[in-house]
Symmetry: C2
Subunit: 341 residues, 2 copies
């Protein structure tokens, strides 16, 4: 029998291979596979649902990831998918598989982090499943949210000439991960060494305790802005720009000098990691900021917003997706994204 390795397809190719020829039976199903969340028509509103799995050894390393932070992150990254639909989270289901090395107290620590996140994002923990596993910890979180129909934001609805916006700053989570991995290697080599994390609080926190940008969703509502398209940045900015542009059948121009990069991320990339801060922003993952497009007429409303940067605009598809460098030249944007396999 033919054997194709998953790694030859990558995550998106695999999803396509598995979900092709899926039949939709219910007219209430507005959107299935292919956006940050699935969409169901509730009559006066839309229900949006998303799910994420976090696997020990793949998504987190408990040698430096505190369980309380992990619990917080598990909720936050799922709420981020709801934010990416311009929706508000309502309920969350949490499933857990763990080996017997986890005590009740350790699991309570994990749930404590989840409860704090539920408090912050105003989401109800309503159910789940607990089971044992032969090895390690697996967390699966599903979140449900609702949105008024005319406010929903998809990936594939950007229009030519829209302004491309991004919240917060980029690359920090990736820089933080590299620092944590570096210190882990030092510790493994010499367990007497203390981790050197002074001055790295910012990037380490960006990795260990990401926030869903629900604050921006509420602010956009107050400003009367409905994004023409939106996605959350889990795999690096470049990958997400490709998702929006490919699915909307558009090109884009992104300006390198407009990319929001925090000073701490910049310094860590240059001084500690010897990599380009722009690479961290474009191809590092797990920032969980929002990438969205707005109509030009909405620009005035957000141009002075301290937490929203305008980084470019969408173009006709034959213009491709380009990066205008600080030096003046224009190069094709490369999307490496985060390799899950």
């Amino acid at each position: 029998m033919k054997r194709t390795e998953v790694s030859t397809l990558g995550e998106f190719g695999l999803i396509k291979a598995l979900t092709q020829n899926t039949t939709i039976f219910h007219s209430e199903t507005i959107k299935g596979v292919g956006d940050d969340a699935a969409v169901m028509d509730l009559g006066d509103k839309y229900l949006v649902t998303s799910t994420d799995m976090l696997v020990e050894g793949i998504h987190f390393d408990l040698s430096y990831y505190p369980l309380k932070h992990l619990g917080y992150k598990a909720i936050a990254v799922n709420v981020s998918d709801i934010a990416a639909m311009n929706a508000k989270p309502k309920q969350v289901l949490v499933s857990l598989a763990m080996s017997n090395r986890f005590s009740v107290e350790a699991l309570q620590e994990l749930y404590e982090g989840m409860k704090i996140a539920c408090q912050n994002y105003k989401v109800d923990l309503v159910g789940g499943d607990t089971t044992s596993s032969r090895s390690g910890l697996v967390l699966s979180v599903t979140v449900l949210g609702t949105v008024e129909k005319h406010k929903i934001a998809y990936r594939n609805t950007a229009q030519k000439g829209d302004i491309i916006c991004v919240t917060g700053d980029l690359g920090g989570a990736y820089a933080g991960l590299q620092i944590l991995e570096r210190e882990k290697q030092v510790f493994l080599t010499n367990p007497d060494m203390q981790p050197q994390l002074e001055g790295k609080d910012f990037v380490v926190k960006r990795q260990l305790r990401p926030e869903a940008r629900m604050d921006v969703i509420y602010e956009l509502e107050e400003l009367g802005i409905v994004p023409t398209s939106m996605i959350d940045i889990s795999d690096g900015l470049a990958s997400e720009v490709f998702h929006i542009c490919t699915q909307s059948n558009l090109g884009a121009m992104i300006y390198e000098d407009k990319l929001p990069i925090a000073q701490e991320t910049y310094d860590t990339a240059i001084n500690d990691l010897n990599i380009s801060p722009v690479t961290c922003a474009l191809n590092g993952g797990e920032d969980y900021e929002l990438l969205f497009t707005i109509k030009q007429e909405d620009y005035e409303k957000i141009k002075n917003h301290p937490d929203i940067s305008t980084i470019g605009y969408t173009t006709e598809p034959d213009k491709k997706i380009n990066l205008a460098m600080r030096a003046g030249n224009v190069i094709p944007l490369q999307a490496q994204g985060w390799q899950h396999f």
Copy 2:
């Protein structure tokens, strides 16, 4: 620091320890942890949501579990939770963590089984997550369904004097599992031996390809019956009777000679496994039949139904939960359930 082993609490104790002090923020949340599914108020209807995790080496053994059947089962057991709320499934999200020993073709086989189940139960596969794992396969399925408000069936709403009903037959899935495990041991001892499964199709199929009893949900609707309480039988009948009676603050009388046990299950238990068929029915798991209670006035409507057995009635709480034996004596019912930890 204090260390409490999960095994000392069991699954239900653990869930209690983890989810206590959970805050509910939204008035739309009607039911959280503690039933087969969570419930959200949609205005004219209820949304019900449930999630289950299936872990290789814990819930299934791929040495005898075909991937297509596993995919089918993953959907069926989740739809069963929706059935247990007297609701109808609408959408399903599937998350998957797998090691690189799984090829794309193997995963397509798994999804093929899921798609057949989606077709049978008329449920839309709308999303999920795929990721790698260090070892083995983990499946997490979340299903969403809807139900008219006055038709929802909870666990904790049975009334004294209600008739206790069960669908289909019990104990078959457990007997099938024991046969499959026996043949696996024979094979491990002598790989030249062929598995002895002749005449065991019935019980083996009960284990490998369980069905959610959505057919009964549609039939109850046609009969104009709303169960006063309902639960699906995943951990053995006795355990589920305890859930309904404890949560409804009732006792019960169950009649041994009314328990529906298929001839094939009976024969396998006696001849192959040397265990009591009644023990298989009461304490074996994974039958995914429905246990429900109805008002006495509804008895006439179901008394000749070929797929519904009346097995007893509910009593005042101080009568406890009893089993009337075929021999004439009455003993307290013992709930062992299925040990997840």
